[in-house]
Symmetry: C2
DNA sequence: TAGATATACTTGCATACTCAAGCATCTATC
DNA sequence: GATAGATGCTTGAGTATGCAAGTATATCTA
C-alpha cells in the first residue's frame, strides 16, 4: 500500500473538517429558522447593489444549480424574507430582493454565525487565521 | 451594515471552496463508478486493521449518520466492493470488510483523486501546502 | 435471573439538492 | 420581420442524505 500523497491527504482532511463545520453552523442557525444555505442566499443578497440579484447570479454566488435556487427561494418568499421583482427590459429574469424582515433576520443570523465562526477559528492565532484565509484565497 | 468579521468571512470562504472541490472530485471519480463519499468509505476501510470496521466506526470515520452508512453500503455490497462479516462475541455488530475487488477499485480511484488533489493544490507551493495542512490539522 | 437500559443497526418519512426536459422570452441573422 | 439559437427559469424524477422510531442483542442491577 503506497503512502498517501500530501495533496490527497489535504483533500481528505478538508472533507472531514467541512462536514463537521457545516453541521455545527446549521444547528446553530436553526434558532433563526434558516439553514446555512439559506444564510448564504441572504448574505449574497445583502452584499448586492440594491440588495437584489437574478436567480442565476444567486446560483453562482452560492454555488447552487438554478433549480436549487428556485426551490430554496420558494419557502423564503413564503415567509417574506425575500421578494420578487421584475426587470422591465427583460421579462425572463425574475429578481430576488432582500426584504426588510429578511435583512433583519440576516443581521441576527450573522451574529450567531459569527460566534460559530469564532469557535471554529479559535484554535488558531489571529496571525494564523490570516494565513489560512490567504492560503484559501489562493485556491479559489 | 457592519463589516464581516475575519472569522466569518473565513467560514464563508471555506464554504464556497468546498462545494466546488467536492463537485470536481465527484465528477472525476465517476469513471470508477463511485462517489466521493463511497471513496471515503473505501479509504477508511483500507486504513483499518484487517481492512474491516463496524458500521458505527465507519459512520464516525466518514462523518455520516448510521443510517447513511447502511444505505451507502447496500450498493457497494451488491457490486462486491465490500463484504459482510460477523463478530462472534456480539451478534449486534455487522462488520464491513474491503473485498479484493474493492481494494483494487480503491487503488485506482485513489490515483484519480490524487490527480484531482494535485490540481486543487497546484496554486500553492509545496511549502504553502504544508502550512495549509498544518493549519487545518489544528482546526480538527 | 428478570427487567431496565444501552448499543448496533435498519427502515419510513422528510429534506435538500441535481440533472434533464420544458416553456417563455430575448437576440441575431438572413 | 421570421426563424434559429441562446438565456432565465420551473418542473419532474432521481439521489443522497438526516432524524425518529423500531428491532435485536448485550449488559447491568436488584
Amino acid at each position: 500500500m503506497p503512502e498517501l500523497t500530501p495533496q490527497l491527504s489535504l483533500l481528505l482532511q478538508s472533507a472531514a473538517l467541512w462536514s463537521q463545520l457545516i453541521k455545527r453552523a446549521d444547528s446553530q442557525l436553526s434558532v433563526h429558522g434558516i439553514s446555512f444555505t439559506e444564510f448564504s442566499i441572504l448574505h449574497c443578497l445583502s452584499q448586492a447593489p440594491l440588495q437584489q440579484l437574478s436567480r442565476i447570479e444567486l446560483a453562482n454566488g452560492v454555488g447552487l444549480s438554478a433549480s436549487g435556487v428556485t426551490r430554496l427561494l420558494a419557502p423564503l418568499e413564503k415567509i417574506h424574507l425575500v421578494e420578487k421583482a421584475q426587470v422591465a427590459r427583460d421579462a425572463r429574469v425574475s429578481l430576488v430582493k432582500l426584504s426588510t424582515v429578511g435583512a433583519q433576520i440576516y443581521q441576527d443570523a450573522r451574529q450567531t454565525l459569527g460566534y460559530c465562526a469564532e469557535q471554529f477559528a479559535a484554535p488558531l492565532t489571529p496571525r494564523q487565521q490570516e494565513q489560512l484565509a490567504d492560503l484559501l484565497a489562493r485556491l479559489a
